[in-house]
């Protein structure tokens, strides 16, 4: 591992809470390392596990998933669904040999700019400590979305009718 390794982390934020927490961290001029790059979703429930795999396959060393606190979801309860998927995803990732520190779920309300900045700082330090992911950048997940079932030879005609 090189001495000056700087991890790249993709952060998924919810439009209603954690994205606003990130805005608040900015407005309050809090500081956190520049290693994180944020993607805005409407809800943590929108987080398709593919997004996480895509980020890791595309060169990210870690993924931070954020959403509203349980019970505070803008869409009532979708963060619970995000939580379920997250737990399942963690097990899958473990089987792929991905260290648990690399994918993390954090709740942050719109008022918690400081908490989000803190969590980002912590996560960057943790991933920096375990080093680069070094996943081969392949087509594994690259073309998942492009796959058109109607063109697939594995899908029998009747199933599509």
């Amino acid at each position: 591992m090189s001495q000056d390794f700087e991890p790249t982390i993709i952060g998924f934020t919810c439009n209603w809470c954690s994205y606003r927490a990130a805005d608040l961290a900015g407005t309050a001029r809090l500081k956190y390392p520049p290693n994180i790059r944020l993607v805005r979703l409407m809800c943590s429930g929108r987080l398709d596990p593919t997004f996480v795999l895509k980020a890791l396959a595309g060169g990210a060393d870690g993924v931070l998933i954020t959403g509203c606190h349980p019970g505070e979801c803008h869409y009532l309860e979708q963060n619970y669904k995000a939580l379920r998927r997250y737990l399942l995803l963690k097990r899958t990732l473990a089987q792929m040999g991905i260290e648990p520190e690399r994918v993390k779920l954090v709740w942050a309300s719109a008022a918690e700019g400081a908490k989000l900045a803190d969590e980002i700082t912590k996560m960057v330090a943790e991933v920096r400590a375990i080093g680069p992911l070094n996943w081969p950048r392949g087509d594994g997940v690259e073309n998942i979305e492009q796959e058109d079932l109607t063109q697939s030879e594995f899908v029998p005609e009747e199933a599509l009718a």
Binding site: I10, W16, Y19, C43, K54, G59, E72, L76, S109, E145
Partner: protein, 678 residues
């Protein structure tokens, strides 16, 4: 909308605009470098022009974009500036003016998420490039969208009949629109109805409140539902179906004249914990106070002898109009409303939690609400300020500020009203009893009109002020003169000495707390509350009465501690916001919605249970699922769940998000070459 992979090759013509925001961005990010880089390195992504500007949001900045759209034939625009929550609309509108669909414009944040949170200029510049690259990759896959227009129902639901809710209801009704005002207690009036005087003018609380209550009760446009609670909220922006549980009063309000004979004749006396703060009694059939609106009483089932033992019915026997109806049952009412205003107020901090102050244990330690009732001419002592024995007039009184507020053990926040309330109490005690009054404060906060003048007045009246947080209140006399007194142990921080001050009566200025059920309230109406439990406004300065949920507004103490004038202001403000919407007739909503490609849907029904808004319908005959765009709120949970990839979401499709991730990670791939190039 579909995830058409071919859209990659559509050869979109993209313009990139990087904002300096004065020095807000340019101070930490080399803005010109970002623009130059985007112009060269992202050419293969379709970027045909990349510019930087001092203020992109200025009219000249917007014109720059508009001219480029027209002259260079841009088909997509990426603006790298502040948060989309600030200026997304600005740039979308600019694009629209130039003839481009506004949803083909993407605003990426390099201010809140880059320049303001990072210090290293090189790293911040590199990150900005990544953010721009993410935006460019994403915008290629944007689809032209049309805003959805939904009609706004002209009725409004106001929840909470305190001063804030009353104000909101009257403003709306006076403007000619129907209002449903729901209050959980038997009468409207809220906390203000319990007070004797209001600071700083000392006008009688009931005198200024009751005319408004009467207006609410008699207003033809207001449907007043007291002794009622909202149980269910369905629907969406501008069109809510609200279910209200009207609890059984056991009194027929069509027949009852409010004469009060039933209350006189009822044999069961109950300690009134709510209105009289535990100091006085009411009957089992009661109106909380004589000026209650509506005037009809309710029977408290838990304490009614008939309901508990099966005999009595004294009220029924004496009622001159036969209005008592023991068979009444709770009723569920469904109403249609377009907007909702929540004004459910606050709970008082329970001073028992500060055990060293002895409230609940030492008889003559009173809470602020108890003192309000004690000093109220209509209260249990007819306004006589006396000790718990009911006769002794106190000679010395200590008023303790910040009980439960500004205290790490309880609530960190300032409860706003307690300083002025403490001063008001000092004045009242002084005026009515001539007692010596001590005020124990940490900081005296008397901001706002005529408040500090009131403080000066109380100072001049001879109230003694001790700056210091009270450590303990006890009845353990140690020194001569302390026997039979309450001893207040405090560090006088202005003198720098510990003091023991014997008093006859202590009044605790307990702070305000969110309603104990504020989290359930927030959940019911689909809005969020802070960790403390106060409901969160859309913007703390610029949008204090709106919430993140369209068509749901908040007013008064439900949003945070505030005094009566501020609560009234918020009541009016929320009504003004609602009126604006009603008068528009319809509202434009973001076209961020999920839709099902029926050709791909396998009918597995995995998505069916995921939608909390019941927007997902399953057609059993065709074995496919459909999403109702009017009910869909656009969260995208079903999209992420669909194993067939049959559901897609406008504005946040898989291809958009995946492409953005690609773009954000672009820089790492070429990092070595880039650093050399820089």
């Amino acid at each position: 909308m579909t995830n058409n992979p071919a859209s990659n090759d559509k050869q979109e013509r993209i313009g990139v605009y990087v904002c300096h925001c004065g020095s807000n961005i340019a101070g930490t990010v080399d803005v010109e470098d970002v623009a130059n880089w985007a112009g060269k390195q992202l050419q293969d992504q379709g970027v045909v022009i990349a510019r930087d500007n001092k203020f992109m949001c200025s009219s000249s900045g917007q014109e720059l974009i508009e001219n480029d759209i027209k002259e260079l034939g841009l088909t997509r625009v990426v603006v790298a500036a502040c948060s989309p929550h600030l200026h997304e609309q600005t740039f979308r509108t600019a694009c629209n003016r130039a003839g481009m669909n506004p949803y083909l414009c993407e605003l990426v944040s390099i201010r809140e998420q880059v320049s303001w949170v990072h210090t290293d200029k090189f790293a911040a510049t590199e990150k900005s490039k990544a953010v721009v690259s993410g935006g460019v990759r994403r915008v290629v896959h944007h689809q032209p969208l049309e805003q959805l227009h939904v009609p706004i129902h002209p009725s409004t639901l106001v929840v909470g009949g305190g001063i804030s809710g009353i104000q909101a209801a009257l403003e709306l009704a006076d403007a000619g629109y129907p209002v449903y005002l729901v209050e959980r207690e038997p009468s409207i009036g809220g906390h203000m109805a319990q007070f004797d005087k209001t600071f700083p003018t000392l006008d009688c609380s009931a005198c200024i409140l009751t005319p408004k209550m009467v207006s609410v009760g008699s207003h033809p446009k207001i449907t007043l539902l007291t002794w009622s609670e909202v149980t269910q909220v369905e629907g969406y922006v501008g069109n809510f179906t609200v279910t209200i549980r009207k609890k059984a009063r056991y009194v027929d309000d069509e027949i009852c004249t409010g004469c009060g004979i039933c209350q006189e004749k009822c044999p069961k006396k109950v300690i009134d914990q709510i209105y009289e703060a535990g100091l006085g009694y009411r009957k089992a059939i009661y109106t909380p106070f004589p000026q209650a609106v509506p005037k009809y009483p309710v029977i408290d089932r838990q304490n009614c002898i008939y309901f508990q033992k099966g005999t009595c019915k004294a009220c029924e026997k004496f009622c001159p109009t036969n209005a008592i109806d023991f068979t009444q049952e709770d009723e569920l009412i469904t109403v249609q409303v377009g907007n909702i205003i929540l004004a459910t107020g606050y709970d008082l901090f329970d001073a028992r939690r500060v055990s060293q102050y002895g409230y609940g244990r030492l008889a003559n330690v009173f809470s602020n609400l108890e003192f309000e009732r004690l000093s109220n001419a209509a209260g249990p002592t007819n306004g006589n300020i006396v000790l718990r024995d009911g006769v002794t007039v106190p000679k010395t009184v200590g008023i303790v500020h910040c009980v439960g507020s500004r205290d790490r053990n309880f609530n960190n926040y300032c409860s706003v009203i307690c300083c002025m309330q403490g001063l008001k109490f000092a004045h009242i005690v002084h005026e009515r009893t001539g007692a010596t009054v001590y005020n124990f404060y940490i900081d005296m906060r008397t901001a706002y009109k005529a408040y500090d003048e009131f403080y000066q007045r109380v100072l001049e009246e001879g109230t003694l002020f001790v700056r210091g947080k009270v450590a303990e209140i006890s009845d353990a006399a140690r020194l001569p003169g302390e026997e039979g007194k309450l001893i207040i142990q405090v560090e006088d921080t202005l003198v720098g000495k510990q003091r023991r001050i014997p008093v006859d009566m202590v009044i605790l200025s307990s702070g305000l707390e969110p309603r104990s059920d504020s989290k359930e309230l927030a959940k019911l109406f689909g809005i969020s509350c802070s960790a403390d439990g106060w409901l969160i406004e859309k913007h703390p300065k610029l949008d204090p009465v709106a919430t993140m949920t369209e068509s749901v507004f908040i007013a008064g103490c439900v949003q945070g501690p505030k005094d009566i004038p501020a609560s009234v202001v918020q009541g009016s403000a929320s009504a003004a916001r609602v009126l604006g919407r009603i008068q528009q007739g319809e509202i434009a909503i973001e076209p961020i919605r999920a839709s099902v490609d029926e050709g791909k849907c396998s009918g597995c029904r995995i998505c069916n249970d995921l939608c909390p808004f019941n927007a997902i319908l399953f057609h059993a005959d065709r074995k496919v699922t459909e999403i109702n765009p009017a009910l869909c709120q656009g969260c995208g949970t079903c999209i992420a769940a669909c194993p067939a990839g049959a559901i897609s979401g406008s504005g946040f499709s898989d291809i958009q998000v995946l492409s953005q991730i690609d773009g954000l990670l672009l820089l790492d791939i070429d990092h070595s070459t880039l650093t050399q190039a820089v």
